[in-house]
Symmetry: C2
Subunit: 720 residues, 2 copies
Amino acid sequence: MTVCEGDCYIAVILDFVDGTEGCTKMAQKLLLQGLGILALGVLLNPTMAAAPQSALNLMPVPANVQAGTGSLRVDAAFSVALTGHTEPRLDRSVERFLHQLALQTALPISTKLATNPKATLVIQTEHASKEIQEVGEDESYVLEVTATGAKLTAPTPLGTMHGLQTFLQLVNVAPDGFAAPTVTIQDKPRFPWRGLMIDSARHFTTLDDLKRNIDGMEAVKMNVFHWHLSENQGFRAESKKFPKLHELGSDNLYYTQDEMRDLIAYARDRGIRVVPEFDMPGHSTAWFVGHPELASGKGPYGIERRWGIFDPAMDPTNEKVYKFLDELIGEMARIFPDHFFHIGGDEVNGKEWDANPRIQAFMKEHSIKNNEALQAYFSGRVQKLVTKHGKIVIGWDEVLVPGVPKDIVIQSWRGQTSLALAAKQGYRGILSNGYYLDLGWPAARHYAVDPMSGDATNLSPEEKERILGGESCMWSEYVNPENMDSRIWPRNAAIAERFWSPQNVTDVASMYARMDFISARLEWLGLTHKSYSRRMLHRIAGPASPLELTALRTLTDVVEPVKDYTREQTAPAEPTSLTPLNRVVDAIPLESDAGRHFGELVDQFLAASCRDTIAEARLRAQFMLWRDNDANLQPLAQRSFLVKEVAATSQDLSALGAAGLAALDQIAKGQPASDSWRAQQTAFVTQAMKPKAQLLLIPAPAVQKLIEAASAGGACSTAK
Amino acid sequence: MTVCEGDCYIAVILDFVDGTEGCTKMAQKLLLQGLGILALGVLLNPTMAAAPQSALNLMPVPANVQAGTGSLRVDAAFSVALTGHTEPRLDRSVERFLHQLALQTALPISTKLATNPKATLVIQTEHASKEIQEVGEDESYVLEVTATGAKLTAPTPLGTMHGLQTFLQLVNVAPDGFAAPTVTIQDKPRFPWRGLMIDSARHFTTLDDLKRNIDGMEAVKMNVFHWHLSENQGFRAESKKFPKLHELGSDNLYYTQDEMRDLIAYARDRGIRVVPEFDMPGHSTAWFVGHPELASGKGPYGIERRWGIFDPAMDPTNEKVYKFLDELIGEMARIFPDHFFHIGGDEVNGKEWDANPRIQAFMKEHSIKNNEALQAYFSGRVQKLVTKHGKIVIGWDEVLVPGVPKDIVIQSWRGQTSLALAAKQGYRGILSNGYYLDLGWPAARHYAVDPMSGDATNLSPEEKERILGGESCMWSEYVNPENMDSRIWPRNAAIAERFWSPQNVTDVASMYARMDFISARLEWLGLTHKSYSRRMLHRIAGPASPLELTALRTLTDVVEPVKDYTREQTAPAEPTSLTPLNRVVDAIPLESDAGRHFGELVDQFLAASCRDTIAEARLRAQFMLWRDNDANLQPLAQRSFLVKEVAATSQDLSALGAAGLAALDQIAKGQPASDSWRAQQTAFVTQAMKPKAQLLLIPAPAVQKLIEAASAGGACSTAK
């Protein structure tokens, strides 16, 4: 039927047939069981009637919200006045706010600041924030919306900017125009360090790609952009002191110093610090292309094209290395004003050290027992250089070695235990374990990770204060600008909420509802997380009939890329930085909404002892769609190698559909299925559970639940 | 069910229920009649099985295509070499081509030109084209694709660039990778003037908005961008001689001279001429804000906010006007290198002239009989100024008055008769009547308009040569950058084909199939014609449940804005340039694919004497969906004033659904319906046909056809 261009839900028409033609009971029953009966259902959404309109749809949830009654009209005359402390950054943030409000409403709202203090929204900022934004500055704000106006007060511009984002989220279409509900919000962040790391080194991302993601960070009140700038696969920062670094180490894909300054200013305008990372002594092959003298091996070195952990590492025993780093860190420290400087420090395999007799001799001479100690020596030296240039070191877990000064910050990829241990020793830390966006976890799983959980629970209040927050990480082995936004958003909004909102904000259903809504809003910022998929699927399909495109969509709606590091482990050929990211696994979101909704629907059906006929009808309709989908997809698979790759997954989905129908039929009989039936059906699901083309069929476990229920029999009473 | 983000088709699951449970004949019949029977159908697409894969999907269709067998592999090693004539523009066009090819395939194709002449694609350009692109330059090319390589030969870079676009359209995903089919194409345009006019004056459009549309023009081989730069509502070109023009006449929304030069260079790089239009003596209120001395009335003048034809007009009797225009035209003629200069000349109502005694006295003194003659006098004077500055005048029909030099070009908004008359008199002309994109015609209707039809058919060959081609026009009363692309694309591709392809290329079904495919391709250029709608509908809906969003989409999929100038005539309040364009009428495409498909399905059903049970089942399912849709939309209408506006249309759609079902039931009886039944059902359709909220319900006429068929009875034999 109708072409739906945007978010739309495949609707299934299932309707009571008028009994006027002498419809018998049997026909009624047949209809009920065979096709299900719905006025008109959104098939897999179990909460089909629940509109989120009653909630405020704020994300992250503020610390304190007191809802009022009534609303403030937002029309073309909407204006903003700045009182109290002012600065150009505040002017710009208000102009940006007004521009965004105009976009959101399409009202001809002027983006100029009101000179009249009787504006619709009056802002009172008490004083300036620090010239160089610090960890733990006051970011609080109070936003009062009444029917006649709004007032935003904040100690610093940081709070003001957060309050403006909250206001934007409050404004929606209403019965008589656009409006913001009356409300009083007192808000402040739970953690002072709320970051997103983007790996611009493995796959290069342009400044524009980063800027729109920084806009997204601002929208969800994140305040640290951690910029991973160097890797085995590329050195992405222009160095004027050592131009061979970027000239030979980046395939000509690097940021000029002006561009870096531009991005820093862009982020500062949004209350976001920029922490650069120059990963050393490992993860540094690209440095050695132009400067093999820094390495521990003989070279020559080429830009690494593969992914993984590699041997090349800086030579910790070479004084020239520290001289070089002194100059480079100095140069970069002058570009990046932030107080923190990330030196990486992760994943050194030590092989080049082991193989270098001079390094081995040095270790003996200085009683350095092992490579860990050698890295500690290196980290200590580098830490002093960073300090010399007025910065504080931040590094991955590995930099925490005995004797490191107490002011450094640990970024933990290892987890809460490591973090808590650091805190106990007096070190500050942030959590990234559990927040790796590229691993493909569902939002709920990231959402459940709390920096204060696990071993951190038992810390003293003083120790707890050392846990500054966390950072989500977007590593880019399988991410390039085309699909990057979809790998970050909307799930990053759930993590941002974890860092900002009170610890007891944990309702997953609410999170998903609000995340869906914010996700649509993020499109106004130019983020492509919703729009990229259609374009990529068109590339995959090539010229195709509407039916074929539908079949491809039906399949891709319920698959997800394999999780964690399985993609590396199951790659058909060794992937490199030149491998095209044009496969189905690249074109689909990392979390399948349809898959999630299907699981919820199965649970709902089982929770009702399999007596929920509406849910049953929906499941049945869904299973038929899946069962028959493969026939429509196969012609396309003959024409497109990118579709052919998922042909087996498509067959699995058909089998899942058939197994699901069989299970429902069996359940309807009210008697336990035979063991052989169970074994047979389970075999289909087991097959469907095997990843193929690096894809997971998300509905498989829920179908297995139905098979188990059918095997238990008795209207699923035991399965329940 | 599943969230479908892109083009997807609402699929309806209608399936044979296994007869295992003793299904009676009656139940079978009920299922057949009540719900229809399909393995899995794309509901409204009558040609559900026809994939366009066999065709080459080229648009515009080339003059001559000889298909071969096999294909040329396109992989990461793809390279292009330039031989023969070279120039930096060709280098850039090849780099752009390679960039586009990389985007289209996601292959890591280098965008650098090959130095090795044994490249995958070897280009041989014979000689340069004119420094300033002329009308009628050789734009032909020959493209030969074999299994081992491709060769593109063209007399000039213009042909080379067209050939590159054709090659891009040939490349698709294939069974073993990306490939272009082997083919020999000899191609050249039918008309030398193939333009798109964009009105940047009524609603301002940024340079980026224009650039991506110029990219779209290049993709479909259009070669003239006609830039409507001045209007009652705005003077959009920076004048250094008369800065008050843009400073007071543009709300600060204007193009700097550097920006205009930038756009001209951008267009020239794509083989596209830029013809500026400064509309005079009418349509010029914005000029008079800063320069009231040019006007025929007393002033003062303000920027016009309303739409329509207004009184202010330049004073043709004032020598200072010509002195002013001499300088301004001179200034603009130096910026715009094109040989043509558009002086507008349309729609002067003459009221200011009538009211000005000095003008009346002048007319008497010079024996100028009426306002038409006065305008002719003005046009003649201006034409001489344009000539003085080395340009040829182009103007709307009105500039063609006795005595005008034969080199001017008429742009006809009046039609073929006017155009043919001009050609007979020795004037060259281009057709725009029939190509006004903003009037909301379906692509097929534009496609059927031919510059050589009507009175032009009877012209002599010499006279026919004077018809240079045509221009599509995007007037912007109800168009701003947010929805502009959707108002231009994809329908403009059909018009581009009319101007380029042989006259006998007229198959509408082929046009639509290819247009759909090219439309998806145009997204790679950044055009927003497919992505804007979701964002606008989210604004309209506000926080909404999936079910509500589906209901809104179901409705908006089958409505179109009222056509021609009905929007002005039916506006609830007088629209102005400040009226928000955020209503449903602004958010939907101008042509409803679903509406078109529904009409085709009804025709198919009737053509089969109402015996096509598959078509019947689909119609029935569609009608049920529509009938029940309103109940799901109404809660949203309570919350959003933008949805509330379409609540009556939604009720009409429900009524159409019910009437359609009644008609199918009646047809199934095989007897003619009663007159009273017919009158009753027709009343529903009549009501649905009345535009509401400036929307048309596209399926209404087809539903009426079914009612007529039901009234005729006898398996529709008479209706057929």
